[in-house]
Amino acid sequence: MSTMLAIKELRSYYGQVQALHGLELSIREGAVTTLLGANGAGKTTTIRAVCNMVRSTGSIEFEGKSLMGRPTESIVQYGIAHVPQGRGTFTTMTVEENLQLGAITRKDIKAIGADIEKMYAYFPVLKQRHTQQAGTLSGGEQQMLAVARALMLRPRLMLLDEPSFGLAPLVVRDLFGILRKINQEDKVTILVVEQNAQLALELAETAFVIETGRIVMSGDAKEIANNEDIRKSYLGY
């Protein structure tokens, strides 16, 4: 399998404060990769940098094409969907309008309706609520909506920022089950940023561990999960 996304020497800044210090990370096509780390380690900054939402230097290449300096709204043209932290739900719009927004850049308008039905099959609760304002959904439902909205792009790469945040454990299990299905059946490559290391390591094949803006460890997800030293010192379980 070939490398889909390659990040090299990434340095990102918020004002005068440097958040990433030469981060290196690569994602194989078709795989689920996870980026683990504590609060403030730079996980969110990393995927925000991919979408050019934070001032950065270094190189980010998607299938050999540089993403550096591309406006945020043009990233979807590469087939990259970003599920932001806090879900980014358009709360005043209906569930169905949120899904349509996910496909707003697609040219194959006729196929969009079928894709919405497909999302309803993945997430039946969204079908029940499709005319409701999205702001009235529960946290878990909004997270499903955010994932569904990202899938409406028919992305090749999906970036998820802490999808488990604030959700009940059972809901998280469901959600991760669906992510696995999306990866295997729809062939979507996934990068999931997580604090919930245990769960993320079950889902992912490859894992990276970030600490204060640098990758301190990377490798096979199962090996990392089985290595007690790493687990204790970096992942806290």
Partner: protein, 292 residues
């Protein structure tokens, strides 16, 4: 009773003016999330462009679409030239920019077309409408066009992809960018559309209040008030707000002794403020919920 009915009718016909302007106000609010204080002057300027075209011999029904196109382009140009470069400057600085734009348009119109009042033609005629002296055919036509505009806007925002993208860009710019919406151009488009709707409002209002550089001063205040009363998030609410303000203003003038023309506006505004204190989102608007 007859007096009451007549005053309500007269109120509806002035309300049509406010409704039309309120629609333009809501349009820009949807796009940029503030009120544009120069909007009345932009509408006035558009009306003068229509006037100029007619002076050059362009027939009315050609003037109308031409003015619309020029105003649309003008609105986009103003956004690109003035307000996009201001970018992330604080809101109050943008408001100062609106005031500057107001002063410039007003002054340039005065110098170009002078300050005398001018007749402006109406395509509907000025005969009594259905035998009523209180509503002319022009005012009836104006109400009709306001409702057609309202329906078009509703369809645009509800059923078209561009309309959906515009709403998303206004509601949550960062998320909108992540789904691939070019937020910056959506704002420009909003300016263009607001400017176009303003042009229609100006062309419809000018036959009633006559054309001059200060024609929109009072109208814009009522337009803002109507939009706020109806709820800034709802085009339908804005139109209803316009008619309500028109009717109320007329009834106050008729039934409360000692209220001359001068006190009508303060009383109307006081009522609106009272409504807002009781119902902060406006009569037809969404309640605004803030998260910490």
């Amino acid at each position: 009773m007859e007096l009451f009915v007549n005053q309500v009718l007269a109120g509806i016909s002035t309300g049509a003016i406010y409704a039309c302007m309120a629609l333009a106000v809501v349009m820009i609010y949807q796009a940029i999330d503030h009120l544009n204080f120069a909007q009345g002057e932009m509408a006035m300027f558009s009306t003068f462009i229509a006037y100029q075209l007619m002076q050059w011999g362009v027939p009315y029904w050609w003037t109308f679409p031409l003015t619309l196109i020029i105003s649309f382009a003008g609105g986009i140009a103003i956004e690109r030239a003035l307000f996009k470069p201001l970018g992330n400057a604080p809101v109050l600085v943008h408001v100062a920019g609106f005031i500057a734009l107001f002063a410039i348009l007003n002054s340039v119109a005065g110098l170009t077309w002078d300050w005398t009042i001018k007749q402006f033609p109406t395509p509907f005629g000025n005969a009594p409408f259905l035998g009523s002296q209180l509503i002319s055919t022009h005012q009836a036509g104006m109400i009709g066009i306001t409702f057609i505009l309202l329906i078009l806007l509703f369809v645009f925002f509800r059923f078209t992809r561009v309309g959906l993208a515009m709403r998303a860009a206004a509601a949550l710019p960062e998320s909108a960018k992540l789904v691939g919406i070019n937020v910056s151009w959506m704002i420009a488009l909003g300016w263009g559309m607001a400017s176009g709707i303003g042009a229609i409002a100006g062309i419809l209002i000018a036959p009633v209040v006559f054309l001059e550089p200060n024609m929109m001063g009072g109208v814009l205040v009522y337009g803002f008030a109507s939009a706020v009363l109806g709820g800034l998030t709802s085009p339908f609410g804005a139109v209803m707000g316009g008619f309500l303000v028109g009717v109320f203003e007329n009834l106050v003038g008729t039934y409360i002794p000692g209220v001359g023309n001068e006190l009508k506006l303060p009383i109307a505004l006081a009522l609106i403020v009272t409504v807002l204190v009781l119902k902060p989102g406006g009569l037809f608007g969404r309640a605004y919920v803030q998260r910490v």
